[in-house]
């Protein structure tokens, strides 16, 4: 039971001068029940990958296996794949349309043709996970602040209870509070439903903080993949990939270069603190 890509390539504009390889022979298996962070520059193929996983986009070649089954075996059944692999787009608040928050969250479950009771249950559950207060459910989504709208939109995807939840830049453009709210909602979802989460982001800092595994894409290819520790144990490679390293990582990279410290696989302030305290630095 997993989500797996086998030799997947996506080519846009085949046979035209605008031919562009968005993904080039990708092989990945996303670990179940974990959060995998997917990072890369704009144009690295992150968003293409997201749309591949739930069948909004078809691979030019290669296969995508969902729980062992090729998702494109029966193209007519692709909407079922979309219920299993939920996708929240970038700036998902721009897709809200219902009169009330509750109705908007219910849109997905309704399309799944669930019973009224089940829909109501899922709406309250998703709203709770995303930290949307009960009394907001009857309000218009258009009255809410940007951060709240974002949470409603993401709750709308969570209410479908997908086994796999793919989020494209869920925290983009939010202030620190809004960001924490959203990311905590995602962790709640993972813990409560035992779901698998794919978190697409530009921010190495967020990915390092919230993920178990990391996949680094570069120019449509897998540049690196592994646990967060594995990825960060090879800092020099990451530094070369010209991704934005967390500031704390850059600090320890510099300290190691100066021969002051042995490890540079540091990606949280807490761990950095611990290392330095072990060295007897600071007032412990």
């Amino acid at each position: 039971m997993s989500l797996k890509l086998e030799n997947v390539s996506v080519v846009y504009g085949e046979g035209t001068p605008f031919r562009k390889v968005a993904l080039d022979n990708i092989n990945i298996e996303f670990p179940k029940g974990k959060i995998t962070g997917i990072i890369g520059h704009t144009g690295s193929g992150k968003s293409t990958l997201a749309q591949l996983l739930n069948g909004l986009n078809k691979p030019t070649s290669g296969k995508i296996y969902l729980d062992g089954e090729d998702i494109w075996v029966n193209p007519k059944e692709i909407s079922k794949v979309r219920f299993k692999v939920g996708l929240a787009f970038q700036y998902p608040e721009y897709q809200l349309f219902e009169e009330t928050v509750g109705k908007d969250i219910a849109f997905g479950p309704k399309n799944m043709k669930l019973s009224e009771n089940e829909i109501a249950l899922r709406v309250t559950e998703a709203a709770r996970m995303c930290g949307i207060p009960d009394d907001s459910l009857d309000r218009s989504p258009f009255e809410l602040s940007g951060g709240q709208k974002r949470r409603v939109a993401i709750a709308g995807v969570m209410a479908m209870k997908p086994k796999y939840l793919v989020l494209d830049e869920p925290a983009a453009g939010l202030d620190p509070v809004g960001k924490t709210d959203i990311l905590n909602g995602i962790i709640n979802y993972k813990n409560e439903t035992d779901g698998t989460v794919l978190l697409i982001s530009h921010s190495m800092e967020d990915v390092a903080k919230y993920s178990d595994y990391i996949l680094v894409l570069k120019e449509g290819k897998v540049f690196a993949q592994g646990t967060v520790e594995e990825i960060f144990s090879n800092i020099s490679a990451l530094a070369d990939s010209s991704l934005d390293l967390p500031q704390i990582t850059r600090l320890f990279h510099e300290l190691k270069k100066r021969g002051l410290i042995e490890r540079d696989d540091v990606y949280t302030v807490k761990f950095g603190e611990k290392l330095l305290k072990e060295k007897g630095i600071g007032n412990a």
Binding site: S79, Y94, Q95, G108
Partner: protein, 271 residues
């Protein structure tokens, strides 16, 4: 996909058509449209097609782009062709199979309609939208309509509105594409059901699109105000438009072409 729609998009370039005064191009387009719609005989249609081809060539817009822009029209083209093919009556039966009768006139009409539509769309894009930057276009319209200012028509505002609409077409198309994908990801079904449920299925697309267009309009207005926009009062232009002799020659040639159509309509060439 919606992304293939290139309508209203401007392709910067330095071709003769790009450099022609926008006013001349607008007049030309009007003349061209009359001339396409008036064509009747096979000779006239051949001439229309040749003229369109010439326009495409001098615009230096790649043929691929033109073909791409016709793609969304494909359905309409095929539909008209089929209607004309099967439902036209005439004298010359070419093919008969059960109740289907195909007349020579039917084929002729089908070809004419396809040529007419293709030329209309290609001509409009090549003459105006592809080769005229929206600002030039607005300016052209504004100058052509200047006489109306005296009777109180807000010509400048109208022209500005048009140019902004053109500027936002690609943005809104992209946005629509995104909203459709997002709602599909939530299991929205746009393909099945009767007409009523299909129309209802559009709500999740139209509401967000409208909200977003409104938000964009509001933000753009603020940004324009910030850049001292005051509806054409005391406005100057970076590029001073001068109508060059070449423009008049161009206009002359096209008027001659147009007149030619009326004569060609009289010429009967066996098909």
């Amino acid at each position: 996909m919606l992304k293939d729609i290139t309508l209203g998009q401007f392709f910067p370039g330095r071709s003769l058509l790009h450099r022609t005064d926008a006013r001349i191009k607008i007049i030309l387009l009007a003349v061209f449209l009359v001339f396409v719609l008036c064509a009747k005989s096979a000779a006239a249609f051949t001439f229309v097609a040749v003229c369109t081809a010439v326009l495409v060539i001098i615009s230096a817009i790649p043929l691929k782009t033109i073909i791409k822009s016709l793609k969304p029209l494909m359905f309409v083209l095929i539909f008209t062709a089929v209607i004309n093919l099967f439902f036209a009556n005439g004298e010359d039966i070419l093919l008969q199979w059960k109740f289907i009768k195909i007349y020579r006139e039917g084929i002729e009409n089908a070809i004419k309609m396809v040529v007419r539509l293709t030329c209309l769309v290609t001509g409009t894009s090549v003459l105006l939208t592809y080769t005229t930057s929206p600002l030039d276009l607005t300016d052209g319209i504004e100058r052509l309509l200047t006489p109306l200012k005296h009777i109180g028509v807000p010509v400048h505002d109208f022209a500005m509105m048009m140019s902004i609409a053109l500027r936002f077409i690609p943005t809104l198309i992209e946005e629509t594409d995104k909203i459709i994908s997002a709602q599909k990801a939530r299991g929205a079904d746009f393909e099945s059901g009767n007409l009523f449920s299909r129309a209802k299925a559009l709500i999740p697309i139209l509401v967000p699109l409208f909200v977003s267009a409104y938000r964009r309009a509001f933000e753009l207005a603020e940004a324009m105000e910030c850049r001292c926009y005051r509806s054409g009062v005391g406005k100057t232009r970076m590029k001073v438009i001068k109508t060059r002799p070449a423009d008049y020659i161009f206009l002359g040639i096209s008027v001659v072409c147009c007149v030619g159509i009326f004569f060609l309509n009289q010429v009967v060439i066996p098909f």
